[in-house]
């Protein structure tokens, strides 16, 4: 059980393995796209883990990367179509980054490191957990970026108007990608401190 909970904290794909940072910077300006992105990656990661695990004994090792890519891109296209059908505005906001899930190192990493050598059910759980571990970081970063950068959460204003009247201003840097990098860095730093102590 502990092995599967690892990705949430001790073995977090973003904070400890520093994988998937690129998309963590791109989609975390607001909560909503971050959550949608987190769920998309979770779905893709879990499903492709499951499929690759089912196929693991029949894939010739020399072409396994191509097979993995095919499976992952199949699910990415599926997720993309679903998002365009049901959540068109968020899909617009995420733009290319849904398609770029294919290149997310977390997914390839889990396929290589776990699904190729484990049974389907544990692979599925591992995929879900890694997706959630990634999503957790996304949501935390997006929480601070949206709160401090736009004064809203999930598009609802949370900073009272009286604050603005008193001179408070939204931090424009929070909306820009550099601040996402710094926030992810702070999370990695905090993680490292708790780990070493």
């Amino acid at each position: 059980m502990k092995k599967y909970l690892g990705p949430l904290s001790k073995d977090n794909p973003v904070l400890v393995q520093t994988l998937g940072v690129c998309s963590a910077l791109a989609v975390t300006a607001q909560m909503k796209p971050a959550v949608v992105m987190a769920l998309s990656v979770t779905v893709v990661c879990a499903c492709s883990n499951l499929i690759i695990s089912l196929m693991r004994n029949t894939i010739p090792p020399r072409v396994r990367i191509i097979v993995q890519l095919l499976v992952v891109s199949f699910f990415v296209i599926l997720v993309d179509q679903v998002l365009q059908a049901l959540l068109y505005d968020v899909s617009k906001m995420l733009s290319v980054f849904v398609g770029l899930i294919i290149t997310n190192c977390i997914i390839m990493g889990r396929l290589e490191a776990f699904a190729l050598s484990h049974k389907p059910l544990p692979s599925l759980v591992d995929g879900v957990m890694n997706g959630l571990g990634y999503g957790l970081v996304l949501v935390v970063v997006a929480f601070f970026r949206e709160l401090l950068g736009s004064g809203t959460l999930w598009n609802h204003p949370v900073v009272p108007a009286s604050w603005y009247a008193a001179g408070y201003m939204n931090n424009g840097l929070m909306i820009l990608p550099p601040m996402a990098l710094i926030l992810v860095g702070v999370l990695i730093w905090a993680k490292g401190e708790t780990r070493s102590s």
Binding site: M169, N171, G185
Partner: protein, 360 residues
Amino acid sequence: MRKHNALLDAIDTFLRTPSTVTASGSHIRDCVDMKRIMITVMIALCPALFFGMWNVGYQHFIAIGAPTALWSCFWYGFLKWLPLVVVTYASGLLVEVLFAQWRGHEVAEGFFVTGFLIPMIMPPDVPLWIVAVATAFAVLFGKEVFGGTGFNFLNPALLARAFVFFAYPSVISGDKVWISGADAVTGATPLAMVMNGHPEAMPSTWELFVGTIPGCIGETCKIAILLGAAILLFTQVADWRIMLSVLVGGYATAFLCHVSGLCPVPGYQQLLMGGFLFGAVFMATDPVTAAHTREGKYVFGLLVGILAILIRLLNKGYPEGMMLAILLMNIFAPLIDYCVVQAHIRRREKRLSQPKTAAR
């Protein structure tokens, strides 16, 4: 008490010389320690600061149409500057002391200059909480996370300004912020006038040089800055190579741009506008973040000057090219040094192998 060693030590060594400094020894040719360097820089900043205080008041009284007596101008500017500097030191030192406690090292003197510089590169009316946030950000992410004074690769004072510039652009750009206490009066800086296509509204070269123009507190008076430069050069605290090459690079670029019609004002006026000279003297010469090798300093300075003018002219959204140019080159300084050192090594290897081949 031991737990708060860092704090006590900081108070103890703020101005007193601790007994651990080498007191004698003829073999030690240079006993200038970091604190003396920092205090020299602060002294060199004083002319620009005093003029800046006066100018803040002068611009204010001109804008509201009041008489501009020397002392009332000065007093007005002083009262504008004082809260800024108090807030800067409080916020920056808080972060420094917290880190020093946590990491178990001493509070370094580096922040005294940073804290002195930050109010000088802010508009007079910038909200104090923004200054506090920017200072804390700069000290934390510009310096402490990399290991404190001496390990930072970005100039912390400029980082604080860049933070304000990108996070709260309305308080530090545009033409409403440069004259204190007069919101209705638009006082564009000369730089902004040129960039927005009103070169005819430009003050004369003499005004640019003396500094009776709107702008950040410390940057307007070129005479005072040159005086500071003289102090820095005389005491050899700053490197003349960097200052010279920044000016050469900036002037050459501005001259070429003027000749080619890209820039409506002559090259020398570009150097007198905005924070160019202040940056060249006090920011680019930061001993920590500039290039360290001799040849590297020329390259560093030239590129700072060239980039500053290019950013000004080519990107109308960012009139203050000097800040961005210096920060960018700070990032490249280690690379420049690396190349210079590698070139040295190659040259020496060559020299070493030559006699052998000659003998053969």
